[in-house]
């Protein structure tokens, strides 16, 4: 059974159709790399999956069970299992780094504060933020905020992790750090959807690559296929342009 099964998904912003006919199956512990030009709908797929933008057509199945996004209870159950790291981080501006990570596990999931904090400190130290626990988001660089956002998502213990451009604001040293973390997570069996412009990163970490353009999936395949021998002209064009950079 597939961990995540997306079929015929369609989404709109107002009259503007941003996703159409999206079919994608994701197995357990799969790491899917989502690539494509700006505005192709990569972030929108993640938003639809999280229930932030209700789909107008299509089906999403979690472990074979259909999710009705109009049903608040079902959405809540889904959000218990899927976590997202937003492209803009979306850290709570009124909370310190530590509080950002701890607030949901403690206040919403009602886990013991001590245990959560211990875990949060360990995770934050691991991504090089051990000395920033009491800082506020507006006192951090983009890369630092990004790492807090990743840790915040991990502290929720999700089965599926959605990552939107998580390496965009990181310098190369930290990219490898995050890469290591993601590889480790994959090995531990976490299913991931990763949106990235960083082709080297995707090639390295993804088990499958999905190329999108204009709200549609153009091509899906192993990293080697997509990057070295793309079938579609549109993919070839995108890959050759981006690799030349």
């Amino acid at each position: 059974m597939h961990h995540l099964d997306i079929a015929g998904l369609e989404a709109r912003y107002g009259e503007h159709t941003v996703l159409s006919g999206i079919d994608l199956t994701v197995g357990r512990a799969d790491v899917i790399g989502l690539i494509g030009p700006s505005g192709s709908g990569k972030s929108t797929i993640l938003r639809v999956l999280m229930g932030l933008l209700p789909p107008v057509a299509g089906m999403v199945k979690l472990d074979g069970e259909g999710v009705n996004y109009a049903d608040a209870t079902q959405v809540r159950r889904l959000r218990d299992r899927i976590a997202i790291v937003f492209q803009q981080y979306n850290l709570f501006q009124n909370m310190s780094v530590l509080e950002n990570v701890c607030v949901a596990p403690v206040k919403i999931k009602k886990r013991p504060r001590k245990e959560v904090e211990e875990e949060a400190r360990a995770l934050l130290a691991k991504v090089g933020l051990g000395d920033k626990l009491k800082r506020y988001p507006d006192e951090l660089s983009g890369g630092q905020q990004q790492r807090v956002a990743i840790v915040r998502a991990l502290a929720l213990h999700p089965e599926i992790l959605l990552l939107d451009e998580v390496t965009a604001a990181l310098d190369p040293e930290l990219v490898s750090e995050v890469l290591d973390t993601i590889r480790l997570l994959a090995k531990e069996g976490m299913t991931m959807l990763i949106v990235s412009h960083e082709m080297a990163f995707i090639r390295e970490v993804a088990s499958r690559v999905v190329f999108m353009a204009g709200g549609k999936i153009v091509e899906t395949g192993a990293p080697a296929q997509i990057f070295d021998a793309p079938e579609h002209a549109r993919t070839r064009d995108f890959v050759s342009k981006i690799l030349r950079h």
Binding site: M50, G51, L52, A72, A83, F86, N90, F92, N94, K107
Partner: protein
């Protein structure tokens, strides 16, 4: 004028008159406090109602919208009269103070609802989204994420409104509530000069509203220096 006031003063400053003024000050203070505190509570409830999404709450949302829009636009005096006659129509003997207290709370609730809603709107939508994806309930989102960021937007107009509002409670004298303005008129009618009667009342109003503005300034300063700021 001063000599006249000095001449009147011994007659004015009787125990009876001072108690009369003090009681009226108490009434004005009580009306103001009720309006500010209950008004804030009601305003918050209305503002929260209006940001709900669920289909079941749609009727409640519409009621909240009508309530805020109507009572913000109707003159205070009209609301007061409306309450007065509505209570009279019930046939029960309801104290005038209660009538005034209800009107004052209704008006303050409607105004503060709009001020608080403006505060909610000032918080970036991505804060609501982040909370939603982590399964925060609406109330948790408001309590833990939105209000702590909205306060700094809400406080200045809210305290500005409170101060204005204390003056507006004077209208309760129109239905016969014995508050400060009413007492000013009574003293004046008793033969004391307007300068003295209303001068004393003015000082009492000032004594009530000035500390409130100071509190507002203090809270704003506290918030500005606290770490609860937005990027």
């Amino acid at each position: 004028m001063w000599s006249q006031i000095a001449e009147e003063w011994p007659r004015f400053a009787t125990y009876y008159n001072l108690v009369f003024i003090a009681k009226a000050a108490g009434t004005t203070l009580a009306l103001s406090a009720l309006g500010c505190i209950l008004g804030t509570a009601i305003g918050l409830a209305l503002a929260v109602t209006r940001v709900t999404r669920s289909r079941w709450l749609a009727p409640l949302r519409i009621l909240a919208l009508i309530f805020t829009e109507v009572f913000r636009r109707v003159p205070f005096l009209v609301t007061l009269m409306l309450c007065f006659f509505a209570f009279q129509a019930t046939g029960y003997d309801i104290p005038l103070f209660a009538v005034a207290a209800v009107s004052v709370t209704v008006i303050a609730g409607a105004f503060l609802a709009e001020i608080i809603r403006g505060g909610f709107k000032s918080v970036h939508p991505n804060q609501w989204e982040a909370a939603a994806t982590m399964n925060f309930s609406l109330l948790d989102t408001i309590r833990l994420v939105i209000l702590p960021q909205a306060w700094r937007i809400v406080l200045p107009p809210a305290f500005g409104y409170f101060v204005m509002f204390i003056k507006d409670t004077a209208l309760a004298s129109q239905i016969g509530v014995i508050e400060l303005t009413y007492v000013g008129k009574v003293l004046n009618n008793k033969g004391f000069s307007a300068a003295l009667s209303f001068g004393v009342i003015l000082l009492v109003y000032f004594a009530i509203s000035y500390p409130l503005s100071r509190l507002g300034v203090l809270l704003e300063a506290r918030l500005a220096s606290s770490r609860h700021r937005r990027a």
